[in-house]
Symmetry: D3
Subunit: 147 residues, 6 copies
């Protein structure tokens, strides 16, 4: 059970009712997700957080699928139950199955591991030095691949 | 300065020299990144970690760009200097500029925040209930969007 | 179920019994909280940890309520179930209701997010430069507001 | 050096210039803090994040000082350099000195430690049972003190 | 319930079946632990991860018991349920009882706390200066004890 | 530079001077490590924290070397600069060289990774089922090896 009471749709008034309506309409949902029902104890916070989520998740250089993948990667690193369920459901709705989710998580796993190794040994980064192409000298440059 | 001496290319022998060669060839680099030079104190570890990275970063359902984005998202959440530099450089090599990096980081920011809110209030997840289409009853279902 | 057996009040002897008595007396409790019953497998650890908690939570420049708020902020960031329940209960005992808890958590949310953004982009801090008051030159100074 | 170029005041236009002006006016600063200059690559994100910070840090049930204390507690737990400098400076501007900062950090230290103990041993929480007052039976209740 | 279906022993084929067999034989188990059944959606990942675990956990300068202790210390810091159960069970199999587990966790607790204090106050490290032995000058040196 | 002034040996009085003396004597140091000089702004905190460290690091079921290894494992997971330097120095004083430190860190790396995988997919733990010995039925039991 949540540590605060959830503000149900039937109790919503004013700004809270407006945001609830916008969430349901833009997400095509019949019920407001519980996350927002907790925030609703602070109506101005609810409104500005919802506004910010719309800004953050809008299609830009990164598409919706990539952004949901980031949400899952962050939530796995932080071990957030609610968020893992919510964004894994979203990715399934976008067509990812078990094999794709494990592929995603293998990247999350690798870098959580190598982050601890690199930080733990305090390895210093040096810009990659690409292999000289024939007849050309080596030079420091931006590589296309990390690590 | 790293907490362990780096094993330089000129010092590499046997398995270490082989892995170093594979790293440089497959990444088109003239020098081995420092991360691998730290691992080289344990040659078998170096070899199997490099093998695992190749498996993890191979193009699959998720492409290379998406996987580098996950690497940056995880590294920002863990605050790993080496990895942030390395994978931001990789993303720049893949064409992302300042605006795209900030867009990426805004998603990382949002979910690090909402993870703390959802976990901190112990909000329980409920499967999304999609809006009934005309003439159809509501039913629990997999939404295309999280939160 | 806890990964170690809890040392019940009826089993407590010597130093453990003394600390249990002090916990119950100073907190006005009829039962020792489970956290301490786990530590009791190491009596010296139990005693010095309880002593340290009393020192840390004593009223000083920060009052008890502020310290319980910090406890909740840290526990939400680390996603610690036991501690979230325990310190949220404490804050409710001190008069905070749902709206106040969400207000508290909104600050925790904001800074968990902005921490990832600032660290992820490796933004460098510069001391704030206050607006020149009329007839006065600008100077670097300590602002009253962060970010 | 930040991983993205900062958008300087002299380069700001339109929405970015407006938000920069609001930051400087409301904070009485002659320069925009670097954090916002990084976000400015995404003007809509800059605007909604600044709006959200104003909402979150507004005086409510918790005052400004308490909210800056939470910011420091979260930033210490996440080890965010920028944020530790920024919000420690803010607390000094609000009158906290070295002794108070160490007092604050001792609470952060204690709960980061006990979070790991409680989670690591998976200790289960039980609602506190207050000592029976004379002539009254014991009952489960909300205590005023956590742990 | 896991967010992906587990690949049961009866469904395993080819590389997955080979790895499952190796896990059961080398660990003397009649069933494959669930962790590996989740990874099995990506057979190459399963194989290289199992290979890496064998490399990492092999007796070297650190013995098996010490490595399981590290596993528990990391899992407590990250609050990973599965891993805490798994590696606490392993340590019990190696002879650790309740008192030893609490002793282990007290070290994890202390350093999770002092990490936050040291990082939060940004205390700078200075190499330890050992006490001069009689008739000898002091010199900077490597101490045998941290903090 | 630390965010608080350090209390130097020459400034120490009363309880602080006593603890400083105990630190230097028991650790055979000519100077007090900076960590303690920061805590000294709160003399009672300094004293009880030092007392607790002595309790926690005392030889018990786990020896000093194992406890320093745990300190490094936790500090790498939290990315604490001060603590990594301090406890790596301590381990070098106890005889660990580069190869051993990388071996240690490989375990830290593996479990930071697998923690994220197990938590991210919410894999449920099941007690290991040992292979039936000849003529004996299988039974759930405590294995000697995790994962």
């Amino acid at each position: 059970m949540a540590l605060v009471k959830l503000v149900e749709e039937s109790e919503a008034q004013g700004l809270v009712a407006e945001v609830y309506q916008d969430i349901m309409t833009s997400r095509k949902l019949a019920k407001v997700p519980n996350y927002w029902k907790a925030l609703a104890h602070q109506p101005a916070l609810l409104a500005v957080t919802w506004e910010r989520l719309k800004t953050v998740m809008a299609e830009g250089a990164l598409d919706r699928r990539t952004k949901e993948i980031i949400a899952v990667a962050v939530s796995a690193t932080n071990n957030c139950d609610y968020c893992l369920h919510s964004h894994t459901d979203a990715l399934r709705g976008l067509g990812l199955g078990d094999a794709e989710l494990v592929e995603l998580m293998s990247v999350v796993d690798f870098f959580n591991g190598s982050n601890a190794m690199a930080s733990g040994l305090k390895v210093e980064y040096a810009a990659p030095v690409p292999m000289a192409e024939e007849g050309q000298p080596e030079r420091a440059s931006t590589s296309k691949e990390g690590n």
